[in-house]
């Protein structure tokens, strides 16, 4: 397949009514990434693009579709949504399938083999550092690097690709989608990142003594303003009522006792912030696929990936399990094996 080929296939599917909508990427006003495009119009599908700027994990929009408040008497359209998935994103689909949140027939997966996407924040700050103009329209980013278009033709290289590549991609072990219906282009060679390389940062962190660790996270968590960007962009945070956010202080049914669904208050203070992030990390154990969206969405740059990769490493070392690789196996924390390590239970 090719970019154009896949687009015409989506258009055909839309026209024939086999899918209800398409979730892909389009050019927005931020030159450093392509933004999500959610549409059921044929005209808009033509705007879709596939490149190293496809940073977002679009799987969360599949979940969103279940949450839309429909007008009275209207029922949800159950046809599949076509959604573009990279390696990491496709693993999120698997987790949702494992947890029976979506059915395979709810999605038509357009796999996008990927050699790494860019880090919009890093690219932007490099661009500010190295360019002379302040016109973001004069910029081109590809897998060769970042270029400034100087005078219509000539291009000046501002950065190599590995300078602006996302950290998550540098340690990615699954460059190709693990589940898909169609591929945008041919599969790519895996980068052959080893476990050791992947967990290098976590290893460094683990070497710190407990006080240093505490100081590190105290500093990071006290920055949090609890905008819930990390939770809301996460494809795996699908709960209707989050125990960590008063995001649906739901009216109680009259004959029921009062539910206080939230474990933490809205008050932004250090203890609530720690409770929020630690709980979230636990809830992502054995589930997080390291798409890195939480860290990208965080406006105050909390290194959330470090936290979740630490949990991922623990799960891997303990159970040899990698999340989202197979939709048929049971989620690791929902299973029990007689040989599971139990050394944390003290007598």
């Amino acid at each position: 397949m090719s970019k154009e080929g896949i687009k015409s296939e989506i258009i055909d599917l839309l026209k024939s009514g086999k899918i209800k909508s398409f979730v892909g990427y389009e050019k927005g006003t931020n030159p450093f990434f392509l933004r999500p495009l959610i549409t059921s119009s044929v005209e808009e599908v033509k705007k879709a693009d596939f490149s190293v700027l496809c940073v977002s994990n679009l799987v969360r929009y599949v979940i969103d579709d279940f949450k839309i408040a429909l007008p009275r008497g209207k029922t949800r359209d159950s046809r599949p949504i076509a959604v573009v998935v990279k390696g990491c994103d496709s693993r999120a689909v698997n987790v949702l399938l494992q947890e029976h949140i979506i059915k395979r027939s709810d999605v038509f997966l357009i796999g996008m083999p990927c050699n790494g996407v860019i880090d919009p924040k890093a690219a932007e700050s490099l661009w500010y550092e190295r360019n002379k103009t302040h016109d973001p329209t004069k910029i081109r980013i590809s897998n060769e690097g970042m270029f400034e278009i100087a005078d219509g033709k000539e291009e000046i290289k501002l950065a190599d690709f590995d300078e602006i590549e996302s950290e998550k991609c540098k340690v990615c072990m699954h460059n190709n989608p693990v589940i898909y219906d169609e591929l945008v282009w041919d599969k790519v060679d895996d980068k052959k990142v080893t476990r050791g390389e992947r967990y290098k940062k976590v290893d460094d962190y683990e070497k710190l003594d407990p006080e240093k660790k505490w100081l590190f996270w105290s500093d990071e968590f006290s920055k949090c303003i609890r905008c819930y960007g990390c939770k809301n962009i996460c494809p795996l945070c699908y709960c209707e009522e989050c125990t960590l956010a008063k995001d649906k202080e739901k009216a109680v049914l009259p004959n029921e006792k009062i539910w206080k669904t939230s474990w933490i208050d809205k008050e932004v203070n250090f203890s609530n912030n720690v409770a929020y992030h630690m709980n979230r990390a636990m809830h992502l154990a054995g589930r997080c696929v390291d798409c890195g969206e939480c860290e990208r969405a965080c406006p105050v740059d909390i290194p959330l990936r470090l936290l979740y990769t630490k949990v991922e490493k623990d799960i891997y070392e303990r159970y040899g399990y990698e999340s989202g690789m197979d939709s048929e196996v049971k989620p690791v924390l929902a299973t029990f094996d007689i040989n599971d390590k139990e050394e944390f239970i003290e007598g």
Partner: protein, 340 residues
Amino acid sequence: MAKFVEDINKLLVELASKVELYVPTTNKSIVNFEKFTGEPFEAEKFKNSTEPIKKILFPESEILYFYKKDENGYKFEQVPLDEKKKIIFGARPCDCAGVERLDRVFYGDYMDPYYDARRKNTIIIGLACNEPPYHSCFCTSVDLSPSSTVGMDVLATQLENGYLLEEISDKGKELLGSSELVRDANEDEVKKAKKLHEESHKKVKKIDIDTNAIEFESDLWGREGKRCIGCGTCTFLCPTCHCFTIEYVGSTRQGRVIRSWDTCQFQAYSLEASGFNPRPNKGERVRQRLHHKYRYFADNFGEFQCVGCGRCVNLCPVNIDVREVMVYFKKKKQKEEVIP
């Protein structure tokens, strides 16, 4: 009359010895206004802070009062008002204008005592942008500029040999008069600053915002809403957004009442106990945010509740861009005017 200071850091040290001084401080990859530690301020490295100075006057969470049960019922204890003298140095003109917008809300009809105590004890020294710091800046589109003085007590402009300090308010005049490090500026310095201001103003990309062109019933809201993830980044980091929630923390016997930032982008914000929600979907919530900023506030106070700092544009993880929305409606209106 304009004043001049050669070494800004000497002045900062002097100010910090008298009052609580807030300056832009780098913490790893982000910059925020923190208490001055003696670390010299480097204007060349400073673009704008991640969080606006709003946080100093209106913190993300604060205690309003404590309650305690006694034999006669309940007793309240209001938290002592924060009346510490503060100086904020280095706030960008957009953020200072944001404070003026907050004043409109917190002093309107009812006076908010918590905000008032901080506000009247704070002196704001703004710092003109000699170069628009981001491509997303659009202050000139909302009737401000990289050197506007709205909400400031003093406007500082960095020149080659020091800082020109313009007195904007009486508070600012008094402050500058009290330091021996400050001298009167000469004509040349004033001219240079003026030239910098004008040049910078021209560099900010201007878009046309037309209040009357913004439609309520439009497909655009549905489109933007589909993309929106419903987080609070755009509003929490907005210099003008002021919405909050009041919550009881504690038991029926004792506890505290907290005011925390809240945002119209959250579902529970407008959800009523009956289950009825006037704004059930994200499209309606995005519409509310932009309508409030560019229509409702303008109707009430004659100015936008937006200062063009571009944070919501820059930090939105899914690229919801107010400039794009405003341009869309303006263009649509122009088209409709041509073909009635």
